[in-house]
């Protein structure tokens, strides 16, 4: 019986984009020395990394009242969401802290607004408005952000239409 193991060293660390599928909750494998290579990030995350660091490090009362820093878990979930929604050609969103430890991801372009409130992990309220048509939509989301991806595609389409006829 094999009762203690080391992972195969065969090529894993050298395969581009290889990533472990789970975090190390198993107790079987001894800690492995592994070079940590930063995976390529989207332009949005490259632009927003510093901003996310900043809003999670805000002092208590940062807004002149009793404002709390953005919670680490909310920021991490937002980072995950931003990376998931990335579409090349759409400018990076603004990230705005809420005084209750939440944060908002926003695009306001060409009279088209998208606001995504990240209240915490799996707690998202999203709103969009097309000022030209007056159309508004609000969604409460937990795990599936397919609809938001569609909104970002619409934002890109609006942008391209404006470029063409603007």
């Amino acid at each position: 019986m094999i009762d203690s193991l080391q992972g195969s060293t065969a090529f894993q660390d050298e395969i581009l984009c290889y990533a472990p599928t789970a975090d190390p909750i198993s107790s079987l494998s001894p800690p492995r020395r592994r070079v940590r290579v930063e995976l390529p990030r989207s332009k949005w995350m490259a632009d927003l990394q510093e901003r996310l660091d900043e809003i999670t490090s805000l002092p208590r009362g940062w807004d002149g009242y009793d404002g709390r820093p953005v919670s680490f878990n909310a920021a991490l979930f937002a980072a995950n969401l931003i990376e998931r929604l990335f579409v090349a050609g759409v400018p990076s969103p603004d990230v705005v802290p809420g005084s209750d430890g939440t944060l908002q991801i926003e695009w306001h372009r060409n009279q088209y607004d998208i606001e995504i409130d990240v209240l915490g992990p799996y707690e998202v309220v999203a709103y969009r408005r097309n000022q030209r048509t007056g159309n508004e939509q609000e969604l409460e989301l937990q795990t599936d952000f397919t609809a938001l991806a569609g909104w970002i595609d619409d934002l890109l389409a609006e942008q391209q239409t404006n470029k063409k006829y603007g």
Partner: protein
């Protein structure tokens, strides 16, 4: 908890480890000095303590074009604290705890023990999670708010040569190829009855060696992870039970009839 009648069963499964766990919103006001009180809750059955690095929060989300987005990010100041292992005297059972995670592991080694079966491990997991939740309520006025659950089975299949993969797995027929190493993984998005995704099912076969490098085995890891329907313990336990059924059925589907005979298939 009773074993479902329709699940395949084995008298000698190649199981090396079973892990059940939850992730929850961090306990407000919790700090490292409070860890001792948590250990006191489990000390009688888990008298040995070890410290390990923190596990980063993980979120299973769906939709959007960027499929790699569930990989970890680092934002803000580096997280402080540690993950604690509370081990049973024989070191075959352990609880893993940090301020936003609680996991239960059963493992076959280091003192070789027969598999106690999922129902026993799951009952212990539920009982201990409830003890922890009661402590959070009493000490921190915090209602446990579970945002993710997971169940993982790790199987070790000892082999002479990795070229035997086809004998064990339906996925592989290596034929005459002299395989030095094998790594296969695939991920399945699991949807509810309305077609909404709520979990991921990670499947991984990896060639591994014993520490001294002389013995070979395939490590088959099956992990089911996602957001339970609600944030309470019953929902997390139901999620884990659902994941276990999927894992056992997947194990049946991807291993060969010949292998299952060796492992003593009962039903």
């Amino acid at each position: 908890m009773r074993r479902p009648d329709n699940l395949p069963d084995f008298s000698k499964p190649p199981l090396a480890e079973v892990v059940l766990g939850v992730q929850f919103s961090p306990v407000p006001g919790y700090s490292s000095v409070d860890a001792r009180q948590v250990w006191e809750l489990f000390k009688e059955s888990f008298p040995v303590v070890e410290e390990r690095p923190l596990l980063a929060p993980q979120f299973e989300t769906f939709g959007g074009a960027n499929r790699l987005s569930s990989l970890g990010f680092h934002v803000g100041p580096p997280p402080v604290g540690s993950r604690l292992w509370f081990l049973s005297q024989d070191a075959n059972h352990l609880i893993q705890f940090q301020s936003d995670r609680f996991l239960t592991n059963w493992r076959k080694g280091p003192n070789l023990q027969p598999y106690p079966r999922f129902e026993v491990i799951a009952d212990s997991f539920e009982r201990n999670l409830q003890i922890l939740a009661d402590h959070f309520m009493a000490a921190f006025k915090y209602q446990i708010d579970i945002n993710q659950a997971e169940v993982s089975y790790v199987n070790l299949i000892q082999v002479q040569e990795f070229a035997e993969a086809g004998k064990w797995f339906n996925l592989c027929d290596s034929g005459f190829i002299d395989i030095e190493a094998l790594n296969t993984n695939f991920v399945q998005v699991v949807k509810d009855r309305e077609g909404k995704p709520y979990a991921r099912f990670y499947n991984e076969i990896q060639s591994v060696f014993s520490v001294e490098g002389k013995r070979k085995a395939f490590q088959l890891s099956l992990t089911f992870k996602g957001k339970p329907a609600t944030s309470g313990i019953p929902s997390a336990v139901a999620f884990v039970r659902d994941g276990r059924e999927r894992i056992v059925n997947r194990f049946r589907d991807i291993t060969t009839a010949e292998a299952q005979e060796i492992w003593g298939r009962l039903s």
